[in-house]
């Protein structure tokens, strides 16, 4: 509540807002001990306790009061004055941790199982996990679908209108983009797969490769996803390495 009131006050007096760069031109009259504390705490390799600080500061300085004021001054900044185990130190603001993390991209090759699963999703979409398992003849490990969701190449589309209402999966635009496909229809069909030698002639009669479609509209046998479906561990996870 208090902070709301405060904010209101600030809005009522826009000149007080930080957005006005000229405001800094006002010479700031700060007690010297704040400068001293700033310098001491900044330069120290370790957090310093009040006793140590007081020993380094001139006698006239009220270290306790100055620390309090400094802490308030820096509370809203990118660097905060914090007390750790009774000792004082400057630390970058906790909410800016993301800024201090370097995202380095580590290229990793998709596993064989994930590649197969992805291909089945691409050709047979919309497809449920049970259907994938049936086509592959192996039960899909949870990790495989997780990895594929993490790639951003597949997405849960909806739920099949069938007992258990299983989630259906399909590919995304990111999939097309990564594999350099203009549309999902550019995936080679049966004849093309045979033509490239990827499928050989020894196929039983009736063997078919579906004509894939990643149409955004749900099929007749699909229901839309419900809120919360995406939170069931299906969303992208933070990598575990």
């Amino acid at each position: 509540m208090r902070s709301l009131a405060k904010q209101h006050e600030v809005i009522a007096h826009p000149r007080a807002m930080g957005g006005d760069y000229d405001r800094d031109a006002v010479p700031e009259i700060r007690p010297e001990e704040l400068r001293l504390l700033e310098a001491l705490l900044f330069a120290s390799a370790e957090p310093l306790d009040e006793k140590t600080l007081a020993a380094r500061m001139p006698d006239w300085a009220d270290v306790r009061a100055a620390l309090d004021r400094l802490q308030r001054e820096y509370a809203s900044r990118g660097v905060n004055l914090v007390r750790i185990a009774g000792k004082w130190t400057f630390r970058t603001a906790v909410d800016l941790a993301w800024l201090l993390a370097r995202d380095s991209v580590e290229p990793r090759k998709l596993s064989r199982a994930a590649t197969e699963t992805l291909a089945i999703i691409a050709y047979h979409q919309p497809v449920t996990r049970a259907e994938i398992e049936e086509i592959r003849g192996v039960s899909a490990s949870r990790g495989t679908l997780d990895v594929l969701l993490e790639t951003g190449w597949i997405r849960p589309r909806g739920r099949r209108k069938a007992p258990g209402r299983p989630i259906t999966f399909g590919t995304t635009d990111a999939f097309l983009s990564h594999f350099g496909l203009d549309s999902i229809g550019d995936l080679p069909g049966l004849d093309e797969l045979k033509g490239t030698g990827l499928l050989d002639g020894q196929l039983p009669a009736g063997f078919a490769v579906p004509v894939p479609s990643d149409d955004l509209n749900l099929r007749e046998d699909e229901d839309p996803l419900e809120p919360g479906d995406l939170d069931l561990g299906l969303g992208p996870r933070v990598s575990e390495g």
Partner: protein, 287 residues
């Protein structure tokens, strides 16, 4: 100022420099070479180096060297070289310049020496100003406890279209062939069918539909054909043995059966045998 007086002054300077730099004391009272000595002498002229009298400076230097050599027998060679050069310059400066002289004139040589002295003095001034600047970790400090950047490795998954297609084709092909090679058909044996029928028929004297009897056993659609076929064959056998009667009023109509009561080889036996082919044909067609 006589050379002797000059020399009296020097030890102070020498001591000062010596303490600063014991390793680099050169033979002559801590001066770093003849140029250093010349610069000190020039400064003692208390005039702008630009207006320095090289002639006077040469005199002072030569006098100094002479005084020094009275105390110390040895002088570093470069001091003597400088002394010789200055003596030569002095004589050139004093004598009228001949017109056919080769190389730089005495004035040019003097000016060059003055310039070297000025340059040395300038760089010394610059050095003083440089080291007077606030120096890191002496006067100014950087953050004592920097917070290292955390390296978060984010996997970027890669796969090529070829990977995708070959994986798909290979596994579809493998599965397609696997189905042909291993026809995993489950079969209901005649014995199983007969056992079941005997159990079922035994419970009722009334006509019942064969397919209704079998519902309990047909749990999987894939099993339907074999269950029907074996049951029907078993039925016919039981009819022949006179255990049950069966009845079908039209082709493809439901088959009814009931436990036979009384006559072992009943009148409907041939009738039933006649229906056999038709009914069986229907079942096989479904399978």
């Amino acid at each position: 100022m006589t050379p002797a007086e000059q020399f009296q002054v020097d030890p102070e300077i020498a001591v000062e420099r010596g303490s600063e730099e014991p390793a680099l004391i050169v033979d002559v009272e801590g001066f770093e070479g003849p140029l250093d000595l010349l610069l000190m002498l020039a400064r003692q002229q208390k005039v702008d180096l630009a207006k320095i009298s090289i002639l006077a400076l040469a005199d002072q230097y030569l006098a100094f060297i002479e005084a020094a050599s009275q105390v110390r027998l040895e002088l570093a060679a470069d001091y003597l070289v400088m002394a010789a050069w200055l003596a030569y310059l002095k004589s050139r400066l004093l004598l009228p310049e001949s017109n056919d002289a080769v190389g730089p004139s005495a004035e040019e040589m003097a000016a060059a020496l003055a310039l070297r002295l000025k340059r040395l003095e300038a760089i010394r001034g610059a050095a003083e100003r440089l080291v007077a600047r606030p120096q890191l970790e002496r006067d100014v400090f950087r953050r004592g406890a920097p917070e290292p950047i955390v390296d978060v490795k984010r996997p970027e998954w890669t796969a090529t279209l070829y990977d995708l297609l070959s994986a798909y084709a290979a596994q579809r092909q493998k599965r397609a062939l696997a189905r042909v090679r291993v026809p995993q058909r489950q079969v209901w044996s005649l014995a199983e069918a007969r056992a079941a029928l005997e159990r079922l028929v035994g419970g009722s004297d009334d006509w019942s539909r064969l397919d209704e009897y079998l519902v309990a056993y047909v749990t999987e659609p894939g099993l339907r054909a074999t269950v029907y076929a074996s049951s029907f064959a078993a039925t016919l056998e039981m009819v022949r043995e006179g255990l049950v009667e069966i009845h079908q009023h039209a082709v493809f109509a439901p088959i009814y059966l009931r436990k036979r009561i009384g006559q072992p080889n009943g009148a409907i036996g041939p009738h039933a045998a006649a229906m056999k082919t038709e009914t069986k044909g229907e079942e096989e067609g479904r399978g």
